[in-house]
């Protein structure tokens, strides 16, 4: 059983880190451990959790800002925002079903993993909306970067480095986000019966239209079955989905115009608000893959130029995997039985397509031996090691979580 510490304030957390630094004792950094299966396992005797650093510290709806301690859960934040008609812009996913974990994601973990959902293509990534943060570096020193205002170019933006660093540079204690009004209405244009190439072409046309499409996904029939919003559509071989989020009159107008503009790809059906919302939550959380996932399966999340989506879909199919596409074809979710040969073929296809990949989960026996992120070039490896040393000279924060030996 690992020793776990969960201090309830930043000073307590800083003291734990300073002690670990003095003892040269690595720490596994966690929030609620909802993403524990992601990336590589950390060899550490002790866990340091932010879960007791909880609570929203500022929400100023008219200023579009929210601050919360790192251990605050996403559902709590989403609920507080919804009470004022606002939402998280990047639409971060809840991956606990996909990853087979129990607890809700924390804000700290979501920012540390820079996880964004379908709205990424229109609204930006999770890290794009981090206005400021407090964090403790690997020496136990509390630092602050950014602030609580919507624009800020003062000094080097350490928030960007720390967001997406999976707890390897500093442990975030409080985060300030830009938030936006939630849309009054959503609607989705669905065109069924398209193969992958035609589906991605339809999504490119949708995203190249003047109607401000906020999400664009392609589901092959295996992934689309059992989704209530798509019932009655002749899906085979797949369905292209494009979402509009606006005031009600605009959603009516834009879905109609978009359906007409995409007419050359096939007949479109407009899915109204009540069907559209749960449909995109399912896509956000990668539930089409989670259903039927075996312990022995691996899951990859791959980002490529959107036009390369079909190429990755073909690689997934060749590996006997299941898959679907978000971000207009640019985000490829793949699950397949885990083994080194499949890991190699899928990740090589991602690299060949000019993209990057993340190993989201794999059986415990395989994880230590697999790269979880694309290998670094010698130059970038040197920079990565030096940045790590600039924040965490003793190498005690989540060592090996992203890259073996760093």
């Amino acid at each position: 059983m690992m020793a776990a510490e969960a201090p309830s304030d930043e000073a307590g957390l800083a003291a734990q880190i300073a002690a670990a630094r003095d003892a040269r004792e690595p720490l596994l950094i966690a929030g609620n451990a909802s993403k524990a299966p992601m990336l590589r396992p950390v060899q550490a005797a002790r866990t340091l959790s932010t879960r007791n650093l909880a609570g929203i510290t500022l929400h100023s709806p008219a200023e579009l800002v929210l601050s919360a301690r790192a251990g605050t859960t996403l559902p709590e934040i989403e609920e507080a925002l919804a009470a004022h008609g606002q939402h998280l812009i990047a639409e971060p996913p809840d991956l606990h079903v996909l990853l087979g974990t129990e607890s809700a994601a924390t804000l700290g973990g979501t920012v540390a993993a820079n996880l964004s959902g379908p709205r990424r293509i229109a609204g930006g990534a999770m890290r794009d909306h981090v206005l400021g943060m407090r964090a403790v570096n690997g020496e136990g020193t509390a630092i602050r970067s950014g602030g609580r205002v919507l624009k800020n170019v003062t000094g080097l933006d350490l928030c960007k480095l720390i967001a997406g660093s999976f707890g390897t540079l500093a442990v975030m204690t409080e985060i300030t986000l830009k938030v936006l009004p939630a849309p009054e209405r959503t609607g989705t244009v669905a065109i069924a019966g398209l193969d992958t190439a035609a589906g991605v072409a339809a999504l490119a046309a949708a995203l190249g239209s003047p109607y401000a499409v906020s999400a664009a996904a392609y589901l092959p029939d295996g992934a689309a079955e059992a989704l209530p919003a798509l019932a009655g559509l002749a899906i085979h071989p797949g369905v292209a989905l494009a979402r509009i989020e606006e005031f009600a009159p605009s959603v009516a107008y834009r879905t109609e115009r978009l359906a007409a503009a995409l007419g050359r790809f096939g007949a479109a059906r407009v899915i109204e608000d009540a069907g559209s919302r749960p449909l995109w939550r399912t896509i956000r959380d990668a539930l089409p893959l989670a259903a039927g996932l075996a312990e022995s399966d691996a899951v990859w999340r791959i980002s490529v130029p959107p036009s390369q989506g079909p190429r990755l879909a073909a690689a997934a199919a060749a590996a006997g995997g299941r898959w679907f596409l978000d971000w207009g074809g640019g985000l490829v979710w793949i699950s397949a039985p885990a083994d080194e040969a499949r890991h190699r073929s899928i990740t090589e296809a991602a690299s060949a397509a000019g993209g990057v990949w993340t190993l989201l989960r794999a059986p415990a026996s395989l994880r230590p031996g697999l790269s979880a992120l694309p290998p670094l070039s010698p130059t970038l490896e040197r920079l990565t090691r030096r940045v790590k040393a600039a924040f965490d000279p003793a190498g005690i924060l989540n060592p090996g979580r992203m890259y073996a030996g760093i």
């Binding site: 008219a62 579009l64 990534a125 624009k151 003062t154 933006d157 009004p181 190249g208 107008y253 000019g354």
Partner: protein, 481 residues
């Protein structure tokens, strides 16, 4: 005046030999060394500071930039990167012992892909040039700094430039997908690509807005967006700054995010009207320019929602454009604002602090008081939706006392911004101008962490020295495992 560091005497003494070496690296055609030619590079958009450099080089390729940086690193020569030289914070100000690397010859497009909605170009392409290259297909590049006709994408990366439309579309950092950078060691690194969310640490994020402290950017890949069906502007005039500020909060609170939400106070309205004859309300204390996008019917719907909100704030006037020409007329004064201020004052300092929008009214009130105390006029023009103030302090640079007062006034405004929860700069950068104020916003530990990151990339602190960080401290040393 802000101090510049002592030139390295050993470097200045070797000038002739260095010029010969530089000519070998970029060809005689790429070297500027005659004193009268160097004058063209002695300042930037912060024209009160002037210092001709040791030399200027104008490379044409990434490989030439790499060779130049390898040489400067080996010789211990300081380097100042330069795009179009439009920085308002002295970001491109040379030093007497520094070589300026100007990227204006690197002005070619590399690729435009409408299916993937990306464009790649060299760092010397202008901001407006990007939109110009894709507008025939109905696309645009979103960040739109006021200097967009001249400023270059490489400089936009360095400063993380914003603009009037970034409330809706984000700043430069939110629109960059890939960079080619050259390190001070002369290594060429390609970061990101044409996909979203590059893997590993966020190199794009830390480089964007790093003010030339970390590396030189030679190539850039950005997202391009499809333009909306149309746009329209509205002008609303108010009896006080307080009421206009409350109206801004009400608009944002209503769920409408206009593509632009610009605020002008009385002095700005008068200066712009005298210059542009845009029909601005001279009896108003404050006015807002509000722009929305969409189809004609959608614009109509949003305008009626906005008109209803504005109506609650006892407006002195409300003008809703019905044609593109009327929208252009509303924007005309705002777009000519800097020129207009230039007509009423020999010089002005453009500040760039950001405040929480709830503090708009008390901060403007306090700036008014300071204006009377310092005896210098001030006009306020700013992006109201995101709280990014642009107080323009009017002074006379030929009068040393006026100049000193203007700088003190500016510093007091920025300290006020920080005190109410804001920051020193929203889009212009720290440069030399705000270097010594960094301690107002950051603790010693915050700054030390930033300085360590600087040392990761530039251990000898040769890149764009005497900017961003307060002078004086020795560079931190990073021991990588």
């Amino acid at each position: 005046m802000i101090a510049l560091p002592e030139p390295k005497a050993a470097v200045v003494a070797r000038r002739e030999a260095i010029l010969a070496d530089l000519a070998r690296l970029v060809g005689p055609d790429g070297l500027v060394s005659e004193p009268h030619c160097l004058r063209a590079y002695e300042t930037d958009g912060l024209a009160v500071y002037r210092q001709p450099p040791l030399a200027v080089v104008l490379p044409s390729t990434t490989e030439e930039v790499a060779a130049l940086l390898r040489y400067c690193k080996a010789e211990g020569i300081r380097v100042v990167p330069r795009g179009a030289g439009t920085s308002l914070s002295g970001g491109a100000l040379p030093l007497a012992d520094a070589v300026v690397i100007g990227l204006m010859r690197m002005n070619r497009f590399l690729a435009i892909d409408y299916a993937d909605r990306v464009a790649s170009m060299q760092a010397g392409v202008t901001n407006l040039g990007i939109t110009g290259a894709v507008s025939a297909q109905g696309f645009f590049y979103a960040p739109d700094p006021s200097s967009q006709l001249a400023c270059m994408i490489g400089g936009n990366i360095a400063m993380n430039s914003g603009g009037a439309h970034c409330l809706k579309y984000g700043v430069t950092a939110n629109n960059v997908l890939g960079l080619t950078i050259v390190t001070i060691e002369g290594e060429i690194i390609r970061l990101g690509g044409t996909h979203l969310d590059a893997a590993g640490y966020d190199w794009l994020g830390i480089l964007t807005g790093s003010e030339g402290q970390l590396a030189i950017v030679t190539e850039v890949t950005v997202r391009i967006l499809r333009s909306a069906e149309g746009s329209r502007a509205m002008l609303a005039a108010f009896r006080s700054n307080e009421v206009a500020g409350a109206c801004v909060a009400a608009i944002i609170g209503s769920g409408i995010i206009p593509v632009a939400l610009e605020f002008m106070d009385r002095p700005a309205i008068h200066a712009c009207e005298a210059f542009a004859h845009a029909g601005y309300p001279l009896d108003a204390e404050a006015m807002l320019i509000i722009e929305v996008e969409g189809s004609p019917a959608e614009q109509e719907d949003l305008m009626s929602r906005l008109g209803e909100i504005v109506g609650r704030f006892d407006p002195l006037g409300l003008k809703i454009a019905t044609t593109a020409e009327e929208s252009a007329a509303i924007w005309k004064g705002r777009k000519g604002a800097f020129g207009a201020i230039g007509r009423i004052s020999p010089d002005y300092l453009c500040m760039d602090g950001v405040i929480p929008t709830s503090q708009l009214s008390p901060v403007l009130h306090r700036i008014g008081e300071m204006s009377r105390t310092f005896g210098l006029g001030v006009a306020n023009i700013f992006h109201a939706g995101d709280g990014n103030l642009h107080p323009l302090i009017l002074f006379d640079a030929n009068d040393p006392e006026s100049m000193e007062k203007a700088e003190k006034f500016g510093a007091e405004i920025l300290k006020l911004c920080v005190a109410v929860g804001g920051c020193l700069t929203g889009e212009h950068g720290v440069g030399v101008e705000k270097r010594e104020l960094m301690g107002v916003q950051f603790s010693a530990a915050d700054l030390e962490q930033q300085r360590r990151v600087k040392s990761v990339f530039d251990p000898d602190w040769l890149l764009n020295p005497s900017k961003v960080f307060p002078l004086g401290a020795t560079p931190p040393v990073i021991h990588a495992a």
